[in-house]
Amino acid sequence: MKKLDQKTKIILSVALVVVAILGLSYLDANRSDYSYALSILERSAIYAVVAVAMNLLTGFTGLFSLGQAGFMAIGAYTVAILTIPVESRAAVYYINGIADGLANAYLPLWAALILAGIFAAFMGLLIGYPVLRLKSDYLAIATLGFSEIIRAFIAAPQLDRITNGSYGLKSIPGFPSTFMVFGVSALCILLMVMILRSSYGRAFKAIREDETAAEAMGINLSKHKQMAFVISCFFTGVSGGMLAVYMRSIDSKSFQIGLTFDILLIVVLGGIGSVTGSVFGAFLMTAGREWLRFFDNPLVVGGFSVPLFRSGFRMVIFSLILMAVVLYYRKGLMGTREFSWDGIYNFLRKHLYLRWRKPSGEEVKRDV
């Protein structure tokens, strides 16, 4: 294992960020040609936030929670209610009217996103207190239950004047610029990485490895579990808010259990316990669905139409690939490792070694 020096790494990282920004500006400048690609990238970035938030809980603290969809719903509705322009609210709530206190409550997007996180975190605090006493699969099923309860409340006719019940919320203004999606996502992920690297993060990992031993070392179990849960809920709420802005119109059906399962599969694909893995997983999974789109179109080979290729086939292939990952490649893409320049450097050295070396001595013999 050879290491690169610090300076090279910083240069490489800055170069990567610059390339990403330039690439995005190029796509953004030619928006009319690349709007499809951009929308896929935006969705991936939003999913990356929730996937890292889920990983913080599942992969780093060892708490298996399946409540993501519910917390995303809280965030999404908070942002939607507060950012729909005041003048178009009458049109959105045309059936039941809007609650009096909310009619003129308006916040700029960034403030609404923070508030979305705070609401979701507050809900997480309330729910976490009783639920975090449960273990493994009971915790999973209880949080899943909570997310369904939240969804039921959102759709309930009794809250029509706040959430617009089953009609959903429309005309949410989109992002002012593409960079905001990526900027906010990157900021959220960066904050989570910083938390994971702090002493709290190390305490989370200790709890994951062995609760009893962690407690013996003086880690307050319930406090740290609660903290991990609330932090995860906060970022899940923020990403839910971004999803609402991305989708422009939401209803309670957008936040079904299927959404949680999508996020879970991203985390599994990327590697449970790897932040960069979750980010890669989010991009791969969202883009993968689009790449596989040719399976949905009829395929004609030499005048003969292959019978399997029709609408829906892509998702079958996609789920088969996921099953293969779950069964035979359980670590996912990254396992618990993280992306690092050293890793890339060593990977390249290992695989391109012979071509890099000047022909001399032993290597040449092996080559011949």
């Binding site: 599942t58 298996f64 009783p130 639920v131 006493r133 449960l134 273990k135 493994s136 699969d137 009971y138 999973a140 099923i141 209880a142 899943l144 239950g145 909570f146 369904e148 309860i149 039921a152 409340f153 759709a155 309930a156 006719p157 009893t212 259990i257 299927g258 399962f261 879970l264 599969l265 599994v268 449970i272 029709r310 609408s311 829906g312 086939f313 998702m315 079958v316 996609f318 789920s319 088969l320 996921l322 099953m323 779950v326 069964l327 035979y328 359980r330």
Partner: protein, 293 residues
């Protein structure tokens, strides 16, 4: 509320509860033996609905029903072999994720094969016959469901308490590793568990969908989760518990719908779950488990 309306709703609730109970048994048995929440069970139940649609298209109902039962059993056992068996020594979370993956696969497969649009469920004429008792009216299926449920549960309990394979199942659910050391063929026991679970899910699906009349790829998801809740409510691993849990949920849900809170009927199920997990995590009839450190 008039007494008649009350009875009418009670009948609907018991019938729904019966179908829930049959599915809940599948969850409770698999959890008892593998410690796995079989998320795919609800989708097996959904697939059974589709099998019925296709079987009845070419056969009379008395041939179609056995075909559906056999096809569902094959599906259940196949899933166990392919998706759960390779993970037997893996951490519990991996098997659970695999179950979620299977559920995802089955839903996508059903969407691909049968499209996402709801399909009409065939009605077996004699099940739909309307009965009139006093002022109450009910189709035969409403009355058959709870009766059939109780009969099947009785048979199942006989099987578990008085047969060799039943004894093996009880042993495995008590202690997986020791029973293996005692010479019990674990894979055989697990297969039988899945056979029984899928069979009951298939019967439950016929009874449930005859009342609902349509099947779509996601129609197994929520009933599946609710039946898992029923199993937890009764005490996971206990068969009578699952049955009682099923009836409680069926009745409670029908009561909420009757009172006009139909949007909360799903939430009610999960609220029960959470209250139960907090105050009595072992359920109504579950055994006390001590955590080994």
């Amino acid at each position: 509320m008039a007494i008649n309306t009350l009875l009418q709703h009670g009948l609907t609730g018991i019938s729904l509860g019966g179908a829930y109970a049959l599915i809940a048994i599948g969850y409770t048995m698999v959890y008892g033996i593998l410690r796995l929440i079989n998320f795919a069970h609800g989708d097996i139940f959904m697939m059974a609905g589709y099998f019925m649609i296709f079987a009845i298209a070419s056969f009379p109902w008395y041939v179609a029903v056995p075909i559906v039962l056999i096809a569902t059993i094959l599906l259940g056992v196949l899933i166990e072999r392919v998706a759960y068996k390779p993970l037997r020594s893996a951490p519990r979370m991996s098997i659970m994720i695999s179950a979620i993956g299977v559920s995802y696969l089955l839903q996508n497969l059903a969407t691909y094969l049968f499209t996402a649009l709801p399909r009409g469920y065939p009605s077996i004429p004699f099940l739909k016959k309307i009965f009139q008792i006093g002022e109450l009216s009910a189709s035969l299926v409403t009355i058959i469901t709870p009766v059939l449920t109780l009969v099947l549960v009785y048979l199942l309990i006989l099987l578990i308490n008085h047969s060799k394979i039943g004894m093996a199942m009880r042993a495995v659910s008590k202690d997986f590793e020791t029973s293996q050391l005692m010479g019990i063929k674990i894979n055989q026991v697990i297969s039988v568990t899945f056979v029984v679970g899928s069979l009951l899910a298939a019967i439950g699906s016929i009874l449930y969908f005859t009342d609902r009349m349509t099947v779509f790829p996601f129609s197994g998801m929520l009933p599946g989760l609710k039946c898992f809740v029923a199993a937890v409510l009764g005490g996971i691993g206990s068969i009578p518990g699952a049955v009682i849990g099923g009836f409680i949920l069926g009745l409670g849900e029908t009561a909420l719908v009757a009172m006009g809170y139909s949007t909360f009927s799903d939430a009610f199920t999960f609220a029960i779950l959470i209250v139960m997990l907090l105050f009595r995590p072992t359920g109504l009839f579950g055994e006390k488990v001590t955590d080994k450190v």
